[in-house]
């Protein structure tokens, strides 16, 4: 609770932490897209190895990274089960009454579940090694070209930073209101779902009222501090791309090339080669 303003951030001084947040953002976006192109098991293994290397370099404990998977474990298992039972194929591995597990189904299930796993761990590595403030600043900087089409980049960045700033305040307030309602005999964790939702209403209404009052005063304070005075607003934090950032981008590009080549040129042939090597008679 007390560290909520820093999100999941895991403080350390590793070189991954020190990378330009824009580089990390770009890498994360490309990574998310690239994961959907991963084809062969060989490349899955390569992505995993790459991921483990990055985690090791970031000095974030593996356990902390895995913890982020816990909240979506259900989703991963569901995806696995759905693919396992619903994808049909020729080669039946196991069947019981109308339930059938095919080789294709198993293959799909493993791939999809693993894909999700890589997606979650990879992206959480971004938030584990970058503070929300760096992320906001990085996003603002990356979106700068959009100013040309009158996209309110600065306002969006400010909205994000204010949202971050007010999360702990509103959390504190929620706890206070809940305690006040509890003192009057309200109960939030008994009864059926409908009852619980109903019990939350007397919390949400005062919370909204107070949030609007806060917004009003904040707006006055911002106006008083000359918000929107000039389009030539100073940007205090300026990012500088250094050699390490460039090196990281290059390594990343090479990595993505491997994934694309594997999918479109080799057609997953790597697996075949490896099978051949392992099961050579």
């Amino acid at each position: 609770m007390n560290n909520i303003s820093f999100g999941q951030y895991y403080p350390s001084n590793s070189f991954i932490h020190r990378l330009d947040p824009r580089v990390k953002l770009i890498c994360a976006v490309i990574y998310v897209a690239a994961i959907f192109f991963v084809d062969s098991y060989f490349v899955y293994a390569a992505v995993l190895l790459f991921g483990i290397t990055v985690i090791a370099l970031s000095r974030v404990p593996i356990g902390t990274v895995l913890k982020t998977v816990k909240s979506v474990l259900f989703l991963i298992l569901l995806t696995f089960a759905l693919n396992l039972f619903l994808v049909s194929g020729d080669k039946v591995l196991w069947s019981w009454k109308f339930i059938k597990i095919t080789a294709t189904g198993l293959d799909y299930a493993v791939r999809m579940a693993f894909r999700l796993f890589l997606l979650i761990t990879g992206t959480s590595l971004l938030t584990l090694t970058t503070t929300p403030m760096e992320l906001t600043d990085g996003l603002e900087s990356l979106m700068t070209p959009l100013k040309a089409v009158r996209f309110p980049v600065r306002d969006i960045a400010l909205i994000m930073s204010i949202a971050l700033r007010f999360i702990p305040t509103l959390m504190e307030e929620t706890t206070k209101i809940m305690n006040a309602q509890k003192a009057r005999g309200a109960s939030f964790d008994t009864g059926n779902l409908l009852k619980r939702v109903k019990a939350l209403l007397p919390v949400l209404i005062p919370l909204f009222v107070s949030a609007f009052r806060r917004a009003e005063e904040l707006a006055l304070a911002m106006d008083s501090r000359c918000y929107d005075a000039t389009p030539n607003r100073t940007r205090r934090r300026q990012f500088k791309i250094n050699m390490v950032d460039i090196a990281v981008l290059l390594i990343f590009a090479a990595f993505i090339t491997l994934i694309i080549l594997d999918k479109y040129l080799w057609g997953g042939a790597m697996d075949g080669i490896i099978y051949g090597l392992i099961f050579k008679k």
């Binding site: 304070a221 911002m222 918000y227 005075a229």
Partner: protein, 278 residues
Amino acid sequence: MDKVIEIKNISYKYGAAEGVDVEALRGVSLDVFKGEFLVIAGHNGSGKSTLAKHMNGLLLPTSGEVRVNGIPTTNDARIFEIRSAVGMVFQNPDNQTVATFVEDDIAFGPENLGVPREEIERRIDEALAAVGMSGHRKSTPQKMSGGQKQRIAIAGVLAMKPRVLVLDESTSMLDPRGRKEVVETARKLNKEGITVVLITHNTEEAFFADRIVIMNEGHITAVGTPKEIFTDAETLNKNRLVLPPLLEIQRLLVIAGYCTGEPVFTEAELSERLINLL
């Protein structure tokens, strides 16, 4: 004396557009002089905040005129000049910071004004030093006491290099210690040359004022030095303000014939006086 803010016979109606008409100010005239410590006191709803918001053009008068450094607040082209000259701090310490970290928050004003980067860094340090919070540059206001949060809010305003600091009940949500911190900070800044307008309904904070203005029902009903105001129990009464205990004791002593003369404004002086009586 130089006038920093000139308020000439202004009236203000809330909700004129919706046709509800709450007349919050009715013909108010007031000059704020350079370097003074001015206290505006008045009970709830007397129009203090409405008046304050006219001082930096957050509100524009329905009739009459407000000038800051001679510039009318209706001058759209120079409104930011006015806002950076008259810094304003509000009531709730939690609702005035825009950033998670102190330094980012203090930078907000100067950034908006397009102040060069190196200059902003310097101003952050100076502003923090001025409110006695050096060393908190990288902390987050979230974990601070109310008094500290308000001092950060003051620093955020100081970074714009204002000539006037308006505190609109900035102490009313604080505990006695926080209140003291904020008032002391305001007094220190005033000694260093900043004009202070302190709005309060806690009359004890008016002891140090050069002038006290009392508001009631959208009018200014009295103006005077602390000595004049605090010996005039009738005026205070009429304006629904209570005499602070320190002065109430002295009033009773005067009525009972135990002492005469000027009121004193510190506990030490009062106890000395009482000892002399024995």
